[in-house]
Symmetry: D3
Subunit: 258 residues, 6 copies
Amino acid sequence: MRVNRLKQLQLEKRVAVNAWISMGNGYLAEVLGHCNFDAVTVDLQHGPYGFDQAVHLLQAISATEAVPLARCAGSTLAEINKLLDAGAYGIICPLIDDVDQAAVFAASCRYPPRGARSYGPARGLLYGGSDYLARADDQIMSLAMIETSNALDNVERMLDVEELDGIYVGPSDLGIALGLGPDAWSDPRMKAAVTHILEVAHARGKYAGIFCGAPDMGEDCVRIGYDLVTPGNDVQLLRAGAAARVDGVRRAAAGHSS
Amino acid sequence: MRVNRLKQLQLEKRVAVNAWISMGNGYLAEVLGHCNFDAVTVDLQHGPYGFDQAVHLLQAISATEAVPLARCAGSTLAEINKLLDAGAYGIICPLIDDVDQAAVFAASCRYPPRGARSYGPARGLLYGGSDYLARADDQIMSLAMIETSNALDNVERMLDVEELDGIYVGPSDLGIALGLGPDAWSDPRMKAAVTHILEVAHARGKYAGIFCGAPDMGEDCVRIGYDLVTPGNDVQLLRAGAAARVDGVRRAAAGHSS
Amino acid sequence: MRVNRLKQLQLEKRVAVNAWISMGNGYLAEVLGHCNFDAVTVDLQHGPYGFDQAVHLLQAISATEAVPLARCAGSTLAEINKLLDAGAYGIICPLIDDVDQAAVFAASCRYPPRGARSYGPARGLLYGGSDYLARADDQIMSLAMIETSNALDNVERMLDVEELDGIYVGPSDLGIALGLGPDAWSDPRMKAAVTHILEVAHARGKYAGIFCGAPDMGEDCVRIGYDLVTPGNDVQLLRAGAAARVDGVRRAAAGHSS
Amino acid sequence: MRVNRLKQLQLEKRVAVNAWISMGNGYLAEVLGHCNFDAVTVDLQHGPYGFDQAVHLLQAISATEAVPLARCAGSTLAEINKLLDAGAYGIICPLIDDVDQAAVFAASCRYPPRGARSYGPARGLLYGGSDYLARADDQIMSLAMIETSNALDNVERMLDVEELDGIYVGPSDLGIALGLGPDAWSDPRMKAAVTHILEVAHARGKYAGIFCGAPDMGEDCVRIGYDLVTPGNDVQLLRAGAAARVDGVRRAAAGHSS
Amino acid sequence: MRVNRLKQLQLEKRVAVNAWISMGNGYLAEVLGHCNFDAVTVDLQHGPYGFDQAVHLLQAISATEAVPLARCAGSTLAEINKLLDAGAYGIICPLIDDVDQAAVFAASCRYPPRGARSYGPARGLLYGGSDYLARADDQIMSLAMIETSNALDNVERMLDVEELDGIYVGPSDLGIALGLGPDAWSDPRMKAAVTHILEVAHARGKYAGIFCGAPDMGEDCVRIGYDLVTPGNDVQLLRAGAAARVDGVRRAAAGHSS
Amino acid sequence: MRVNRLKQLQLEKRVAVNAWISMGNGYLAEVLGHCNFDAVTVDLQHGPYGFDQAVHLLQAISATEAVPLARCAGSTLAEINKLLDAGAYGIICPLIDDVDQAAVFAASCRYPPRGARSYGPARGLLYGGSDYLARADDQIMSLAMIETSNALDNVERMLDVEELDGIYVGPSDLGIALGLGPDAWSDPRMKAAVTHILEVAHARGKYAGIFCGAPDMGEDCVRIGYDLVTPGNDVQLLRAGAAARVDGVRRAAAGHSS
């Protein structure tokens, strides 16, 4: 089976940089896969697209070196299995709040006897290889999102769930849950929580990823020690690129007309 | 009929800034329409999508303040009419080389007796308004691309075609035609050609737009006096945004691990 | 944030007229948005289309004055959040049967601390505006469908749920539940139930909408005092329009051949 | 091969009633196919959709009794062959102006030696049957649109083209060409032209169809003797159906509030 | 209502042969519907496509003689109702483990008072006919998948659920559950389990179907007495067809070059 | 730039085996790309899908080792450039009849000064690599279809066109042109023509491919010396695979019931 490069980077203690797709277009997915990212995540929770589009995205990412990940819309066996069968090499699951939810989610990513996944790996077999069934449980990553007060309270026990590979922090919801609003990276309470979650994960040898929409947050989280950082989603990247170019032209226009 | 804001800006001698869609996704089109552009162009020539996707893009742009434009794949009445019927307020036509081609293209954007357009403006009527037939010929803009040696030789006569509203320069193909390659903005011969085309257009009261992929080229063309500039396409903007964020994180990672 | 015009109409005690999309096509959505409706509802329960199509519909409605609503396929946080993030300004949720279901549904439409919605409003931000997070809870409407015997029994307590904005009656299922069949508008028991539900809602200051497939039912429900009526879905409207024209032509043909 | 029912109706001197799809949705196509039409036309000229969508429409129509027709965007062998291969049983071609264009168009609908069609009938074989190649030339109908001044001048010679099956009148463009505007049915000059075209066609045993957007125009054209009438497109039918229901409700609302 | 031919075959004690769609394309669905299958199943569990695509498939199957079935991704009322409304004549539901799950699933396929289905049968009405509501409960088939250890333990009680029409065996998951791996048809324990399930079903007059990916397994299961067999999915059929032709050519090439 | 493996095979005098996609689904494309084919062709001429779907297919093929080819619907610069920009590494163009058509087609596949291709290689750059412009003219293959009487007469002069890389024989149309019908492989006149075309091509060092729908025709053409053979399209492969399995089951059923 094709090796999950995120696992290799983890072993080598090298950070993974992850892209995030909100705009559901296959060519965009392929472009991002050529932008020096280690992974590209298909976001079915907040990205305004559905499963038919997600398959195109996973196929497009497969034509690049980046590892295809997916954030499911919710924790259901049906959706998670469809994404894995479509070739995702890891699932980020939103709103996991307690140990039961963590266990159910983790089981959705494993075949029996370790989990509840149903067999029929369609594209997974093409992308992964013919020994998919034997090795998928060890290559596929399950990352539970920590983004509510309950999750913060339960994070230790959640990370004790053996089949759960790690966590992924959702700072916007977490900031709202802490009463700090969605853009709270500069607040020390936010940083404390984010650091605490990482320590809990690493103490158990688990993987830790985080979404870093705010400027410099990606750099900060690398220094804190996160295994994977997502420096903003595609819309943020596009807007930043557009603003730089449009502002330049508008300034030239202002100077020209004055 | 809804007024074509590009025509207003032209009257006010204000430059228009145009976005360019290569990644065919409706949400992306809507995001760009909220990025301080005056127009957004659906590119059916080099953009890897077809007409079904183009309609979604035009609908998405219609939900913003930006003027919806389209570059057709080629100069055929069938395709141009479909794009206008789908709500485009201007057509940029590639590879127009001589006065006959310019006349045929311009006629494709006008109803009889001024042109050859067939009646049935579907979305055009919804977006433009109930007096579409009476006013479309004056609101819809036809811009012929000047991007070959022949076009450069014929540009004066082409711009004498009454129903042609203006030109749009394609610097990559023009640079290749001049033997300078696709990235020739720094070459004085390129700037001379681009300046000459503008002078020919403005001498006849015609509109002049240009694609500006190279850094600072948008600013340069504003100063030269172009009416509309396109500061790179969506892929360039996305890549620039991605590079800035990824590079920052990778530098932090290099510092962290060292 | 863009104001929800349905809330304004409610304040002005003016009825809202709502269109209903079963045929998942963006141009159709835009056409209906120009047909003098106050709102247009994307129906993911019985409409034969999925989420990818629903996004196109919401974008198309956004290019018109009509308020974009959605009926979800079922009461799950994942689906409801996706629809709100995609720009829906109200959710009609089928088969809400008791106070617990009503509370869970209503919470799906509100951000913490009032509810359980996860932050990431994608198109919602574009359509609504930059203050979306602060104001969405007050602009987005949650309407629970009353269409079963249980719901009828529990309607008072359901409408006591503070975060629930109102109800929407599904007369076909309600008629079947009452043993009257799906087309029972002429039956006094049906009218009594529909009137009772409205009184319960209005007694609590809550919003009341209803689907009115039967002829004259829309008019009747306006007189009863419903805040929003849906005079049939798009298929019914298309069929009525087709029948009128086809019958005319067939009659002429019969006369001509005789 | 499945028989083309329009040919049967022609033999029986019975008028065919045709639906017209501008809103590219498969369920809509299937709904129209159950609305007592004899044929349903997929419109690629003014309908805002492309070929990928057209295939869905042709498949949906195939699940009904209606004959699947298509209007191509223009007269190219490539597009017409794709539509026939996708199962269309007749092609309506816009803007045929003279005998050469008529001959080229007609040849696009026939296999050698009668025409230029390339072999590979994909869905045509499924829908038509295994003897498709032997019988398609006699079942597939080619109808040239008469909608310009030139076409009006040349209609006799055009209809002398042996392989051309008939004509289809486009009254909007024809009205514009005659200087009467797109809604000129009430003008006697329009009726004279439409009657003349029919006489030319029937004198040569050719088929004659016409688009009848105006009220009562379908009935008029049946009486004149047209073989096929299209009583408006789907948008007109939907709008008429919507207006009837919305107006009723709005009147009730006005009465209720007064 | 159009009769469910699978029920007729059952009465006549004739086996039904079923096709299985993993590759979500409408033309493929139509091709399979012309390949001498009695039914064609749209697979939303392991097939890498979503609901928007499933509707096209169901429409395409409707243009053939084959009975349209669907395997849902999971047992939710929302998804099952959407598939039935879209015209499926039977639902195969994965991972039904006990009598409660069997009862909930069966109820999802029936209207009240026999079940919980909501009324609004869209395409079902077009495909089935105008008496759909009265007769659907008797024509639509609900088949619970037996594919886990729990299901094997509970199969008798599950088949006692009155509204459940039968079962469908998933041998890959069942083999894994039995510790035999996904390709265990040659193992006597597998055959014993498959025979036992059939006997339990037939003892109660219930329907029994099975997926037969392995060579000869379809023939074996016909002899055992299964009512419906699926001799591999579309990918297996395509691969077998490709291997035969490619191997022939490669052998010829090897001979030619030697 | 990624090397075109078909050119390598040609140098090594090894035959290439090519798959052919009529059923426009990305997963199917990926499955075929894993079936031991050297190339996979996207067929826009007879395949019932359009450009939007073609892009998905090319992306899916890119995730495999197979070389992505495309057959355009017709010889227009616009369509051919779109396919090349979308990543096709070769174009098969139907119905090329004489030297002028051959020259125009070949020029569509080359950048100036060798041809007329416009610069903007979108996906081509991602799939091919950053030196695409410098090397594409030598990697991209242009193959003119020989399938009419005229083409047969002109094949020598056509193959003298320097920029044309070779030919591809369409035996169905060629058989019809020769008066032998579409399935004429067993006729010696057909074999003579096919052999003659190959000799003309190889005499000029040009590439020769052929579609081989008939059984054993692929093997025959390998022995004759063709560089590339297409042993049937995907529909033929699927049908063959289905027939084998269905027939087996039906025979078992016949034996069982007798």
